[in-house]
Each structure stands twice: as structure tokens, then as C-alpha cells.
């Protein structure tokens, strides 16, 4: 409780990400800054998991940090490039699920149950027997899912095994030093990653006093006792966005995501300039301003959107008229 979990991104990754770990790297609460720190730390043999694995995950593939992916959507493979090549030449192994599949598997992991049933995947080629041991995969047959029937009504379903990542890297709006995290807005599968992962590393736009958390505990998405490290990292999601703080930098994203995926040289040049040389996210933001001008972040400044209107009160009576 009283032990601060606040630390730098480089320390957090060094302490809580081990080579070979299964790492939740999602799309919605995209922790670009933490993924950059993983690249800097030169972690190896990681598996990236997420309902969708965003461009920050692409960097883990290109840097050789991650050689496996378990996901429903791989942003880096959307268009021709290195990630598609790696999947085709076997240097990036993959097990394909779907957004819902991974989200439910994370929920099952969080719930401590062995699997979760779904009626998705029925009638698809995912379940083809000759695809269960495909050369691109790494789980092996029988471990990816199981077709079953309900003991109550015979309904066919697919049993998806629980997924407990070794570690999750996530970005959110705010937290206190104890690691109580508050987030708002549509959150994708990140909600369950906070609970499924054995270790949780979260970067946030703002560190707030515990009183701010306790003033609205319904806004908390994970309590501090489940969090290993909190990193104060303004613009930690850039070039993705953080609701209420800045929007997606689509220009930067479109330019870089195509470029880094084009050739090894392009990737290395990007990594040297934007990941290694800056040293941390603060350096990255400084470089962004040097490179694009002091107004580099103006385009993503929030200038629309709403805030709560009506009062919310967690009110009760502290003196009662009590008769037994």
C-alpha cells in the first residue's frame, strides 16, 4: 500500500519483463513508450498477445524482441512488409484467434477458470483439423481450443483456454503512486489484461494523490495491489492517443508505420532515431519537437469532447437511528 511503485520506464522493464515472457501488448491502451523501453532493453524471446496487437507490437517483432504472437489482428501485417515476410518465412510464429477470442481468454485467465466457452469460431476454417498443427504456429494441437458440447443442452461451443500473460504493458490516464489506475473511454480488451497478467506495468499521463482515486473509486480499473510498476509518462501513448489528453498522431503513425515495415535499414534508422537515441519518452518528445517543430503536438491537442455534467456523490449517513 504505502510502498511507492513509481519508477522510470527503463527500470520498470528491466525489473518486470523477463526474456521469454508472454507480454500483453494491446491496441486500445497502447503503451508505445513502454514498448520502446522493451526494445532498448533488448529483451528476447517474447510472445506478444492481445485482441489486436497494435503498431507498438510491430516494433517488438522488428527489433527481434518478440518471435511469437497470439492475437486476432496484427497491425503490422495489414499491408505488405517485413512483418508479413517474417510470418511467411517462419521468423515470427503466430496463433490466430480473434478480438473476442483473446478478450475472453484474458477474462478466463483473470477469473482463474481453465477455459471459457464461446459460440464464435463455429463454422469457420479456424477449426479445420489440418490447420491445428500449422507450420506457422507454436501452441501445438489440442492446446489452442477444443470443440465441445454443453452438458445441459448439447449446444456446440468452442472452449478457449485461459490466457494469463506473464506481464502486461498498458497506458492509462492517471494513477497514484500505489498503482491504483483510473481510465475512461472505450477500453477494448485492456480492461481484462489489467487482471489477467501476473505482472502489470502501467504508464500514465498523470500521477495523482491517492485522494483523487478514492474520491471516485468507480473510475478505477485495477487496484494497486495488482500492479508491479507505475511510470509517469506524459505522451506515453504517442503516436496513439490518450482520451482527454491528446488524439492519435495519424500523420506520424501513417508515415512511420509504413516506413519501419519497409526494410531492415528503415527500421534500424527509425529505432536509432526514435527509440535508442532519445533514451526515454521525455527524450522522444524532445526529439519530436526538434524534428517537427515546437508545434509538433498542436495537431493532436484535444479541442472537442465532453466532461461529466451532473454531480455524482458517494454519500451515506455516518450516524444512524438504529433499533435492533
Amino acid at each position: 500500500m504505502a510502498v511507492s511503485k513509481l519508477m522510470s520506464e527503463n527500470e520498470a522493464i528491466e525489473r518486470f519483463v523477463d526474456d521469454g515472457d508472454t507480454v500483453y501488448v494491446g491496441y486500445t491502451a497502447a503503451a508505445y513508450g513502454l514498448c520502446h523501453a522493451i526494445v532498448r532493453a533488448g529483451k528476447k524471446g517474447l510472445e506478444a498477445v492481445g485482441g489486436s496487437v497494435g503498431p507498438q507490437g510491430t516494433m517488438l517483432f522488428l527489433a527481434g524482441c518478440a518471435d511469437r504472437v497470439r492475437s486476432g489482428y496484427i497491425a503490422g501485417a495489414l499491408r505488405p512488409g517485413l512483418v508479413q515476410d517474417m510470418m511467411e518465412d517462419g521468423s515470427l510464429k503466430y496463433e490466430d484467434y480473434s478480438n473476442q477470442g483473446i478478450a475472453l481468454m484474458l477474462m478466463a485467465g483473470a477469473l482463474g477458470i481453465p477455459f471459457i466457452p464461446t459460440r464464435s469460431f463455429l463454422g469457420t476454417d479456424y477449426l479445420r483439423p489440418d490447420y491445428q498443427d500449422h507450420p506457422g504456429g507454436f501452441l501445438g494441437p489440442g492446446q489452442k481450443w477444443a470443440e465441445m458440447e454443453s452438458p445441459f443442452d448439447g449446444q456446440k461451443f468452442v472452449a478457449l483456454p485461459a490466457l494469463r500473460p506473464d506481464v502486461a504493458v498498458l497506458h492509462a490516464q492517471r494513477a497514484d503512486e500505489d498503482g491504483n489506475v483510473q481510465a475512461w473511454g472505450h477500453i477494448g480488451d485492456a480492461k481484462w489484461a489489467f487482471w489477467a497478467a501476473r505482472k502489470v506495468i502501467v504508464s500514465v499521463e498523470e500521477i495523482v494523490p491517492h485522494e483523487v482515486i478514492a474520491a471516485d473509486p468507480g473510475r478505477t480499473v485495477v487496484p494497486g495491489f495488482r500492479v508491479s510498476a507505475v511510470v509517469h509518462m506524459p505522451f506515453g501513448a504517442h503516436p496513439s492517443g490518450c482520451l482527454g489528453y491528446y488524439d492519435f498522431d495519424y500523420a506520424f503513425q501513417a508515415a512511420t508505420s509504413t516506413r519501419i515495415n519497409r526494410s531492415r535499414e528503415d527500421w534500424q534508422a527509425f529505432a536509432d532515431e526514435w527509440i535508442h537515441a532519445p533514451g526515454d519518452r521525455a527524450g522522444y518528445i524532445r526529439h519530436l519537437k526538434e524534428h517537427f517543430g515546437d508545434d509538433a503536438l498542436d495537431a493532436i491537442r484535444v479541442n472537442a469532447g465532453q466532461s461529466p455534467q451532473a454531480p455524482v456523490h458517494y454519500g451515506y449517513a455516518d450516524q444512524l437511528r438504529f433499533r435492533l
Binding site: 501485417a77 508479413q84 472505450h186 477494448g188 481484462w192
Partner: protein
Amino acid sequence: MTNPADDYTLAELMCIVAAREMPPTGVVMLGMGLPVLAGTLAKLMHAPGISLCTEVGAFDWSPSPDVARAPIGIHDFNLNDGAAMVTDMVDALGTLLMGGNVDVGILGAAQIDRFGNLNTMVLGDYRAPERRLGGTGGNTEIACLAKRVLTVMPQERRRFVERVDFNTSPGYIDGPGARMRAGLDPQGPNRVLSTFGVFGFDTPDGGETGSCEMVLEAIFPNLDPEAVKIETGWDLAVAPQVREVDPPTAEELSLLRRLDPYHFYLTPGRY
């Protein structure tokens, strides 16, 4: 209806026709890509009563009439502005979709086949891919579990194929009864909206009976059914009466273009 706009692309009309296909009310789950643009257009013009939802967790999104853009994908933060509820993916693809609350799913894909199956995964053999794609996202569960599916796809012979290379998203699979044998519910009436026309499926009961094959029902102005057949990879069934699709109205076209200010959706080669 006002004078039809005479200067429009087939892709623009495809999105407009998709919007026209929306029911007046019901819960609509937006897939990735063009469905977001078409759904936004429908909500603002053709079907204000629908409840637009995304797998990321925005429920019943009601954009203001002067919204600056259709969401740039389903992660756009502007989906939080006007939503009645924002939550997570298990609530969206689980509670909402699996729970039976989604009336219409609107999807895109890399390939579609004669039974309306979709492929978002791979071109060629899954075990030795010619070209690997990004993956299915929520496409699979929407196809499995929505009560109706609208598919928006450019009419190209390489994409309208006899059999999808990988069935990520079941339509009628391989014909009548197949969905039920697989453990899925009947689904429909489904529609495909392409850059050439509008397709239905030959089944009166969501896949129990009928051939369950795609049927050309309506065609875009100044196009010939033969042109559609040329861009279709199987011997396409054609309805006895092929209706001609109304061209875009000036209002439809101007709103559609206003909703895509960065040409994120309608830049040729991106859809």
C-alpha cells in the same frame, strides 16, 4: 428525392447503398473499414433510430449532425462523444454480440464467396501463405453471431471468389443447413453491397433452405449484369428482375464526402 448527383465514384455509391440498407431501428455493430463510414452516414441520414456500437466498447453512438468526421476506425476517440455507454470488448463482443443483442453486423473483408463466407486472414494456403493479412479482428464473431450481416466490398474478381481461401467469417458456409449443423443460428436476410450492385442470398429462412447462394438483385446505374459476372469468380446467379440502384442524392454525396475529410476511407487502393 432531389436531383441525383452525377459526379460520384462507385465506391461512394457503395457506401451510400450500404447506408440505405440499414433498418430504421436496431443495434448495429460496426466492423473495421468502410462499415464505419457507411454506418455513420446511415445514422446521420437514413436510419437515425439505429444504435451504432463498436467492439472497442462504444454503445449507441449518436454523433452530432455537424460531426467533423466519421470515426477514423473503431478506435477513434470521437466514438466516446455521443455514446450512451462506453465500456470494454468483452461487453461489446461478448455481452452485446454473443448475448444476442446485435441485429445487424456490417463488415468488410479481403475475399467473399458464393455463400457469403468472408476471409480476413490469408491469401493462398493457410499452411503456406501467398500473402498473410492483418487478421480478423471482430469480423469472425460478428459473422457468427449477428442476426443479419451486411458486407461492403469492392467488386473485383480476385475478391469475389468461388471459395474463400480461409473462411474466417461464416456466411452460409457450404449451403443449406450448414450454419445450424455447425452450431450457429440462422442469419439474414444478409446483403452484399459492392461497387457494382446489391446482392442477396437465395434462402427464405436464414440458411435452413434454398441454395443459399449469392444473387445479384440490383445494379448500379449504367452497368450491365455481364460486367458484374466478369468481376465475379463463379457463375453468379442473377435475379429475374434486376433493379437499378438510385444514384446518390446531392445530400447523400455531400454528407458522405464531409464525413471523410482526410480521404481516409475513399482513397482508391485503401478499401
